[in-house]
């Protein structure tokens, strides 16, 4: 019965085993089967980036992956970004300080994109940030608050890194 498959994948550190339809997208798997509704759908054709998650640490549009393709993989969503409890990741704190969100709908996708970018580009520049988020559409902010937040987060994460001897980064 190849229209259905058993999948086993780790999401935010927790292993999930489900039987699913093969055509179920990763985005809908996360939202509907796991109840992780922080990953949002804005276009379902791979342009707006609202559905961005990390798959094995790499950003991907969850609307363009079938959930079966994530079998055996390690997925991180927005729900896995903040440390447990009431705290916020430095990137999230920076967004709050710099008004990097308004309606908040594109925000999870942008945050996950920036997690990867800042991990790979600790010395982020404004042009670099804008290019990094050019695959994420926002209709509310005009991007400036997001850019300011990302640059500030780079500083904070760099400072944390220095303080812990280069191993303190919170990125998943």
């Amino acid at each position: 019965m190849s229209t259905h498959r058993n999948v086993s994948l780790t999401v935010n550190g927790t292993l999930h085993e489900k039987e699913i339809e093969a055509r179920l997208t990763l985005a809908d798997f996360l939202r509907k089967r796991l109840g992780l509704t922080g990953t949002h759908l804005g276009c379902e054709h791979g342009v707006c980036g609202a559905c961005t998650v990390l798959v094995d640490g790499r950003s991907a549009r969850a609307c363009l992956m079938l959930a079966v393709q994530a079998d055996g993989r390690d997925v991180t969503t927005i729900e896995g970004l903040a440390p447990s409890g009431e705290g916020l990741h430095p990137l999230q704190e920076a967004f709050r300080d710099h008004h990097g969100l308004q309606c908040g709908y594109c925000t999870p996708g942008i945050l996950m994109t920036l997690v990867e970018f800042l991990r790979d580009n600790p010395a982020a520049t404004e042009d670099g940030v804008r290019e990094a988020i050019s695959g994420n559409l926002c209709r509310c902010t005009g991007y400036q608050g997001i850019v300011d937040a990302a640059l500030d987060a780079a500083r904070r994460l760099g400072a944390a890194d220095t303080a812990t001897g280069g191993r303190g980064r919170d990125a998943p």
């Binding site: 093969a22 055509r23 798959v55 549009r61 079966v68 990094a132």
Partner: protein, 288 residues
């Protein structure tokens, strides 16, 4: 916009994938998914079977060969972007990679997927056309090699038989010290090119051009090698006029007309970008 129902197959080898393709009706191959999934979600394609290549062994590699590079079809675009070998042996491809979509799409999108999808606005096919890439495909009756010029035959159409899977692309390297230049005009960063130009030049010790390749992407149903321009450049010194004249021949290329750009605009862009790509390539001759 949800995908239609289909049966899902994820073969572990190329042989299995070929068998599936040969035996199943109305089947589509799924590589990176960055082109196919949007079409699926919009129900522009309604396959009964999806054959997922992401578990097939042995198609994800970048290898130096005797005369250049070989890249497996399932190699992620991101790996090509960050590859030192590609930067050294095929810098034109390296230069084009950051223009290919966005980071998220390059993380999943594959070299083979882009080539097989055959959108002439895409950077990878355009660059492969300039480089005279050779593709290796495998079908029921075995493997064969196809020159890129024979591979991309029309709008989103290749000469792949229904039972054939693209396995790899071989790119012969240009001589050490060659010049390369990639130019594109797109409406926004990361968009498909409205028109792109890929140029390669080699020059002799007398400063005259000994070899030239110029491809225009996005102008026609397949990337266009501008033989007239290439021929005109052989033996020339790298003057602005030489490049401008060569580039002008691009105005005569038959061009697509769509909501983004009329044909005459594409022709004009082709000439402008060809000139800029050639000048950029010339500025790099002998530099490395």
């Amino acid at each position: 916009m949800k995908p239609p129902p289909f049966s899902y197959h994820d073969p572990g080898t190329v042989a299995e994938a070929v068998d599936l393709l040969a035996s199943l009706e109305n089947a589509k191959l799924l590589a990176g998914g960055q082109s196919l999934m949007p079409m699926l979600n919009m129900r522009y394609v309604l396959p009964d079977h999806m054959i997922d290549l992401n578990r097939v062994e042995g198609l994800d590699y970048i290898r130096e060969t005797g005369d250049g590079l070989e890249i497996g079809a399932m190699t992620r675009q991101r790996a090509v972007e960050s590859s030192a070998e590609v930067g050294r042996l095929c810098p034109l491809l390296s230069e084009a990679m950051p223009f290919v979509g966005h980071r998220q799409t390059r993380n999943r999108g594959t070299v083979g997927g882009s080539l097989a999808h055959a959108d002439s606005s895409a950077e990878i096919p355009t660059v492969c056309a300039a480089l005279d890439a050779v593709l290796t495909v495998r079908g029921r009756s075995g493997a064969r090699e196809i020159a890129f010029a024979d591979f991309a035959v029309g709008f989103l159409t290749t000469c792949l038989e229904p039972d054939e899977v693209l396995m790899s692309v071989r790119i012969p390297a240009w001589a050490s010290g060659h010049g390369f230049g990639f130019e594109e005009f797109a409406r926004r960063h990361g968009d498909f090119a409205i028109v792109s130009a890929a140029a390669l030049l080699e020059a002799g010790p007398d400063g005259r051009i000994t070899r030239a390749a110029l491809t225009i992407g996005g102008i026609g149903p397949a990337p266009v090698r501008v033989a007239e321009a290439e021929g005109a450049l052989i033996g020339q010194s790298g003057s602005e006029d030489a490049f401008a004249d060569a580039a002008e021949t691009c105005r005569g290329i038959e061009a697509l007309d769509d909501i983004h750009a009329p044909a005459c605009y594409r022709q004009r862009l082709a000439a402008v970008l060809a000139r800029r790509a050639l000048q950029k390539a010339w500025s790099r001759v002998g530099a490395h």
